[in-house]
Amino acid sequence: MNQEKDLLKNLSKLEMIELDACTRCSECLNWCGIQDATDDPSISPPEKIKTYRDFVRRTHGLRARLLGGKEITEDEWKKFQDAIYTCTGCGACGEVCPVGIHTQRLWGSLRRKMVDMGYKPPGGLPNLLKNAKEYKSIFPHSLGLRYKIWMPEGIKISESAELGYFEGCDVAWDAPGMASGAVKLLQAGGQEFTMLDPAEAWCCGWPLTVTGQWEIMDDLVNHNVEAYASRGVERLACSCPCCLQEFRDVWPKVYGGKLPFEVIHVTEVVADLIDEGRIEFTKEADERVTYHDPCQLTRGLVGPVVSNAPRKLIKSIPGIEYVELPRKGGLTRCCGAGGGIRGHKPEVAMTMGEMFIKEAEETGADTLLMSCPACYAMYVYKRLGKLHEWKDYQPKMKMDDIMQYASRFL
């Protein structure tokens, strides 16, 4: 490996300040799902920051400048890489950080740093980039197939419209019910919308940037922005919280300025349609439900968080008894499915999942509603990396996507 590593290159000034700002108060440890599952402080947020700070000091500090830097060993890099990838990127640590370190962004930058230095992401994560280069999606399948997986019959898609809808490749292959439900609700509300041709709607890039692999981001972002703009899109609604965060945070940076359209979550569009009286549910649910705020809709999001619209949507379904989870909004508990952890440490993902479901079951709800393809894949389809079943625990409650669920009561 190249030992001529500039550990500060490509880090923003804010990120350098953030690395220096951690006081090791350890409040983040009280909210970190990885800590709950592993009880291993060596991979905790303060420890990751301390380790990187130490690396910087050894290579850029006064002693290093006067007498030459002290080499960071391969073993130290490997340990740091394990710590930096044993994380779902949920951002709970940043939400509670008293000094306001934006950890979701910082962990991504440090992963990018590792990749730039030649350390490939662990496990199967390099396949995400390989697939994206070949198929323009993280899945090794032709993009052109994907609407056929989930598109219900009779849905009208306009050639161009003020509203664009992007389901995302992860939704198509990991959680198709999310997209089916979304377009059924949009159509029920008489909302005109456009979509790109399936082969034209490339990956948003989230799975790549969250794993530090930025190599083809310019291509992905510029292609998608120009494609939506050419269809007259002024508002782009997406189903996947990670796409939303990527559109709002990363795309403007890669695109080089403000996007030519606003980016919103599809639950916000549907909640507006309900407010306007354009969607009415005709069937009764008659059950107790609760809702899990996806991490990327409520934490670290550039622009307003999305937490009221999903609740409005659920509560508008007749017969629903709605209960909140103990942890909600910015303090929502990570389900353990995101950030590449299912590929890197599936056993940690499953332990986090068990804690998440047990907490949800304590509400006495019959059904847990979600709004994220990673949650959906893990809990509905049980796509758990190398493992397939929880060893000692089987969830008792039903789990569903909010849009798929709501569309059944039209």
Partner: protein, 82 residues
Amino acid sequence: MVLCRVNLFNVTDEDLAILKSFYFTPLEQLEVEDDGRVILNFMGGDLCEGINDFGDPCKGCRYQPEIVLRYLRKQSEIKIGR
């Protein structure tokens, strides 16, 4: 959570390619029989008898993608297992 082993009949080659792309983990492989039937092996646990845990019948099963539902809705008889 239940194991779906529903049979699909008269699946076109193009749809089979789409189905194969959807059932992509080692435990979700499709079985294509000599008589043309496609048998799903989807999710896990006890064999689903035709009503899922939400009470949905196969033709409206929310766990299935639309492409599977299209075939199930066309079939007058739902066959599960072999």
